[in-house]
Amino acid sequence: MTTQTPSAATAGQTIANRMTLTLVSDREIAVTRAFDAPRSLVFEACNDCEHMKNWWGPRGFDLIECTMDLRPGGKYRFVQKAPDGSIHGFNGVYREISAPERIVFTQIYEPIPGQVVVVTTTLTETDGKTALSQNLLFSSKEARDGMVASGMERGEAESFERLDELLAGLLDSAGSGSATGTAANQMVVTREFDAPRDLLWKAWTEPDRLARWWGPPGSAIEVARLDLRPGGVFHYSMKTPNGPLMWGLFAYREVVPTERIVFVNSFSDAAGGLTRNPWIATWPLEILNTLTLTEHGGKTTLTLRGGPINATAEELQAFEAGRAGMQGGFAGTFEKLDRYLAEALARA
């Protein structure tokens, strides 16, 4: 992962709910737009076909086909039907995904396959509002000017208005339930395994198997209890070579065999009570995790989303700082961290 100075520089800037479009260099267009919604929701709405069908494209245009393989190197394709019945295809490849902060992908308008646009989207959240900054890098000035001349500004502005309406709708429906504010503050880890989903499910849910891999190398896990059902717990101790004996707890909330587990993860003690993070007292006591497993062609993608629940303001702050550090590095100040992240990404 690399330094994100450009994204960091936009943080805190006042970006309006009206779209702005700037020609920043001969080959670039910069677009900004703010939304009254938490960042994770904006990220989701921009990177999920179900949501995109409701807003992607100017009014009157329908997204009739949408496929996406949201991981670095993964492909997507969007097909749009214009009001005059004409069909327009777009496709590209994801280059970098740091949900919910930043995503980089290429985009090709299929009638002109030679012209590749690199789109970098950065989302920054302030007080529950999200500023979206998009940088479009074209292969030439001609290509850029052609896009501007095509009426892109109006189309994009309308598309973002539709996104705005969708987000408002989503927030309204969320507000009627028990809103916890966790959506704004989430960490997402994804990883692909060269194994069928059933096997991953067993590795996550059977005590002997969990003890084989959970925790860093050299750590020894003892399973005190594993009761896989909503309301049940996984209570375990972990001994690392140089560290003290620690206890951890998963409290299961939802279990959908082979597909999905929702659990609350906490530091614990021998009796199964909740304890503070031994290094950072203000770290959230409870983190709600959603594990999802999806299989494609014998491989399984694991996605783990985590966010604090029942958190105090200072716990939310600690988590947000940790999340930013985890996903962006602290602005590249620490080469060691960045190098590690780059290696981890290369391995993943």
Binding site: Q4, G12, D194, W213, I280, T282, A321, L337
Partner: protein
């Protein structure tokens, strides 16, 4: 419930929770800067930026020069390094667990193929 005492890491984490403050640190990672220079990329008043600088200073993340006219801000690496180390440890927990899971799954599948 809240019986914990504030620890240095908690103070640093709380200062780092704000995107503007992280952006200020990112700017300072390139070299020292005056308050006016730091304020330039943000549509923010000098007092607004100074408020953020005070939080960063209290957390020991930056140091401000004594020279009354110039007073450049400088990054203090130590607390940030501690946070980075902790974050790395946390991330490594997941990465290494998943590496082990990867190995374990390979092993299981190899056994299956043999039998």
């Amino acid at each position: 419930m809240n019986t914990h005492r504030p620890d240095p890491l908690s103070a640093t984490f709380s200062a780092l929770a704000d995107p503007t403050r992280r952006a200020i640190l990112a700017r300072l990672a390139l070299g020292e800067a005056t308050v006016t220079q730091l304020a330039a990329p943000f549509e923010m008043s000098l007092p607004g930026v100074s408020k953020h600088l005070r939080v960063l200073q209290r957390a020991g993340l930056i140091e401000q020069g004594r020279d009354a006219q110039w007073r450049p801000c400088r990054l203090e690496a130590e607390p940030l390094r501690n946070v980075a180390a902790w974050v790395e440890q946390y991330r490594r927990f997941w990465e290494e667990s998943f590496d082990r899971l990867d190995d374990y799954l390979r092993e299981l599948q190899a056994q299956e193929n043999e039998s």
